[in-house]
Amino acid sequence: MAKHLGKWLISGPPVLYLIVFFVIPTCIMVLASFRYAGEYGGLAPVLLHDTSGAHLNLTLESYHEFFSDFIYSWLFIKTLVYALVTTFCCLLMAYPLALLIARSASKYRDLLVLLVILPFWSNFLIRIYAWMILLGPQSAFSAALNGFLGIFGVGPVRLLFTPFAVVLCLIYVQLPFMVLPLYANLEKHDPALLDAAQDLGANAWQRFWRVTFPLSLPGIYAGIALVFVPVLGIFAVPDILGGTRGIMIGNLIKQEFLEARDWPFGSALSIMLTIGAMIIVGGAALFAGRRRNGDV
């Protein structure tokens, strides 16, 4: 027992923390999704007492509602598309940046990484409100864009309160989460491997696609997971920049809890979102695992 004491002292607190603040709340939410809404919001009691005694007061009503109206599935699909576009754009922009940092002189690397995480030093909401000003109709950015489009007889376009504004800001918010795991991976690559590839006849293009890229796949997977999953549930960005056209599933969940006061339905949406994310990420991990085992 004493042998395991040290192990428990170290792993105990985080495990306890996760049980109290993650496992139990998740169970509460799963249960809530099967309950009835209370008359004035909140939840109706789980047990009902009448003449025949106590019986469970649970229902599939919330899930029935979810599948009976296509608008919810549509919102899911829309959220998924936003998340995919955001992840893809982040990957496209983060990869060259991470590669550049990883290949720069070691004395500059820490500074460049610091610059990547510098935005975290200011408040998340303030940064999103800054985008609101930047994309607003009065801003120099909007004026310049519309002036440019005017040359071709297009526009003027409105940027704020559009899906475009939402995705643009999501990319901005999530970019560091793609850069960091990619950099951590690329920085560890043995430069001798590129020398070897060149020595054996590979040009720059072949060296990238046959050595650097396949070796960076774990970093890419980590980056995708870090960008994709949080975007699925995000609500602050579409709330502030999306207007009515740009809302995502996170906004609906927030609405169900705070405005509609339909906690069971909000819980059901959250559970569906969690299950959806698990299926996508799990499927991707399975696919990645099969590739690693050399089936292709």
Partner: protein, 360 residues
């Protein structure tokens, strides 16, 4: 015409001159070694031949063609890296197929050549494994196979055995010699290990401070070192300060302080020149009593110290005021770790042409 002609190559890194005007000719089919301590410029020179680095001046001609005009990936030169640099995400077979794929050979031909190559390095059953699943010696053989499968004109080897333990290293040395004979490809081998260089090479270039100190066959390098650095770097050597008293074409007489007159050879030296006498310990005979031949130097002294090495014992003999000479005695008789004890009177002798006088 030599296969590779190197002409006055200079490479500087800031204030540091890594390669300082090196010239040499490497013949086709040769096992050529660049030998020197770390920082002597041997690896820099190798990287310039491979194309990973470029000289500031000088030129390199392969089959008479200037290498500077050929991109590294187009050179018919392959390298075996010190770390092997096997691609960890590819199987052994894929690693070996890599250079063939880069040349866009047909699938059938690639498969056939990879199979043949795996057989050549006795790894036929390991083609599907990843490099991480192989032992050090096996990785070494994969690296060799990958670099040779394309039949390069020139194979560069950058300390390829440094990461192996001694037993395996000796075995791989034999394999390398046989492999080179078999494939007939010119090898340029970089090492700081002088025994490895002596064992493997047809010719050795001993480098120091970015310059070639001596370029010759192993036995010439060992027996007739050109200067103090080579004598000291290759093997062990007695280096004794000396002055030429009588110069001669075949035989010369040196004056050594505390010892007296010693006969040696150096056809070039002039009377009064100061330098050192270089004498290999294994060329010095040692016994309690010796009957010297007429062409031998002969001295009496005392055992100052000794080192028991197993196969031989190294005796350090004090033969004069502050003059110590090392001599080797093979332990050919079983059960006798030492014949002589510290303080014992001994006699030593060596043929006059075993000692070389080196200027400066």
């Amino acid at each position: 015409m030599a296969l590779l002609e190197i002409r006055n190559i200079v490479r500087r890194f800031g204030d540091f001159t890594a390669v300082d005007g090196v010239s040499m000719d490497i013949e086709a089919g040769e096992f050529f070694t660049l030998l020197g301590p770390s920082g002597c410029g041997k690896t820099t020179l190798l990287r310039m031949i491979a194309g990973f680095d470029s000289p500031q001046s000088g030129e390199m001609l392969l089959d008479g063609k200037d290498l500077a005009s050929i991109a590294p990936e187009k050179r018919p030169i392959h390298t075996v890296f010190q770390s092997y640099a096997l691609f960890p995400h590819m199987t052994v077979a894929e690693n070996i197929a890599f250079p063939l794929r880069m040349r866009k050979l047909g699938k059938g031909e690639i498969g056939e050549r990879v199979r043949q190559s795996l057989e050549d390095v006795r790894l036929a059953d390991r083609g599907g494994r990843y490099p991480g699943e192989l032992s050090g010696g096996q990785r070494q053989r994969v690296a060799l196979a990958r670099a040779l499968v394309n039949r390069p004109r020139l194979l560069l080897l950058d300390e390829p055995l440094a990461a192996l333990d001694m037993k395996l290293r000796e075995q791989m040395q034999l394999e390398l010699i046989n492999l080179q004979k078999e494939v007939g490809i010119t090898f340029i081998y970089v090492t700081h290990d002088q025994t490895e260089a002596l064992a493997l090479s047809h010719r050795i270039a001993v480098m120091n401070g970015g310059k070639v100190e001596q370029l010759d066959e192993p036995s010439k390098i060992y027996d007739s070192p050109k200067n103090r650095f080579v004598a000291d770097f290759i093997g062990t050597c007695n280096l004794i300060d000396a002055e030429v008293s009588v110069a001669g074409e075949e035989k010369m007489v040196l004056q050594i302080r505390g010892l007296g007159e010693v006969a040696a050879r150096n056809p070039g030296a002039i009377g009064g020149a100061k330098g050192i006498l270089a004498l290999r310990p294994e060329k010095v005979r040692i016994a309690a009593q010796l009957a010297p031949e007429s062409d031998e130097n002969h001295f009496k002294g005392r055992v100052h110290d000794f080192l028991y090495m197993g196969d031989v014992t190294v005796y350090i003999v004090e033969v004069g005021e502050g003059v110590h000479i090392e001599a080797l005695l093979p332990n050919s008789t079983a059960g006798r770790p030492r014949i002589l004890a510290v303080g014992d009177p001994v006699e030593i002798a060596w043929r006059y042409d075993a000692g070389t006088f080196l200027d400066g």
